[in-house]
Amino acid sequence: MEFAKKIVETTEEIFNTMIFLDVSANTPLEQGKQDLGCHVSAMIGLTGGFSAMLGIHCPEAVGLAISGAMLGIEIEEIDADVKDALGEIANMLAGGLKERFSTEDIGLELAIPTAVSGKSYTIASSAKSNRVIIPFNIEQGQFFIEMKYNLN
């Protein structure tokens, strides 16, 4: 199903089209517990051909840079605009994956994105879930796109 390939293609499309920051993908992280050291995350659920939670996780400086670039303004702290911007990225990621999976006759429905921020938080899901985490680099640092999924 090439989850990682689809995630990389979709992320690059979003950054090239609407964020205008140079982005490059790194090798996906190994399965298992990962401390990503992030301060703001946005997530969206997908259901249908498979069930999944798709998320973008950013350290503070990276979240500020991405949301500031999207909005064309300088943002100094994680606020509602940052969470809203990352929520939109999660939404567009999910939409892009939906479109790509539809070419393989895998239908998906999207939920409404949600975002969280804080100095220390853990995002948990079923231990039986499959998991893909892809680090991406921008000039200000690294962020992560994560997909936990269960095949039906």
């Binding site: 929520g87 939404n91 939409g95």
Partner: protein
């Protein structure tokens, strides 16, 4: 008299991006109105003269499709053209949107050029 556009999206960020993209596309509106969901959009249309609507689909409270359906049943506003701007641009959803009067669809992520190509013929 100048033209007015209504941007409907539950994301404040996306409303700002659409507004900026209109300027980057060289489309000048004298007034840009905003609504956070379909019901707010109906309220704005009831109180203002709007020339064109750009609407998201996947929104809480009242979705873009529910907004289109309600708008199509109101003689006072049903002729106002609507372009959908959404991550949801599958053929089934767009066909349903067009059955309620949508004039076209723009997929997120989008470029100002795509906005110009889609919106330009309606102005």
């Amino acid at each position: 008299m100048g033209k007015t556009v209504l941007i409907v999206d539950d994301s404040n960020t996306m409303r700002k991006i659409v507004s900026r993209s209109l300027r980057q596309a060289g489309i000048d509106f004298d007034q840009i109105l905003e609504a956070g969901d379909g019901q707010e959009a109906l309220d704005v249309l009831a109180a203002n003269k709007v020339d064109v609507v750009l609407s998201d689909i996947n929104m809480p409270n009242m979705t873009g499709l529910e907004f289109l359906k309600a708008k199509s049943e109101d003689d006072a506003i049903k002729e106002i053209p609507v372009i959908m701007i959404s991550t949801e641009t599958g053929a089934d959803i767009i066909d349903e949107a067009k059955s309620y009067g949508a004039k076209g669809a723009i997929k997120k992520p989008f470029t100002p050029d795509l906005i110009n190509e889609t919106l330009g013929p309606l102005l």
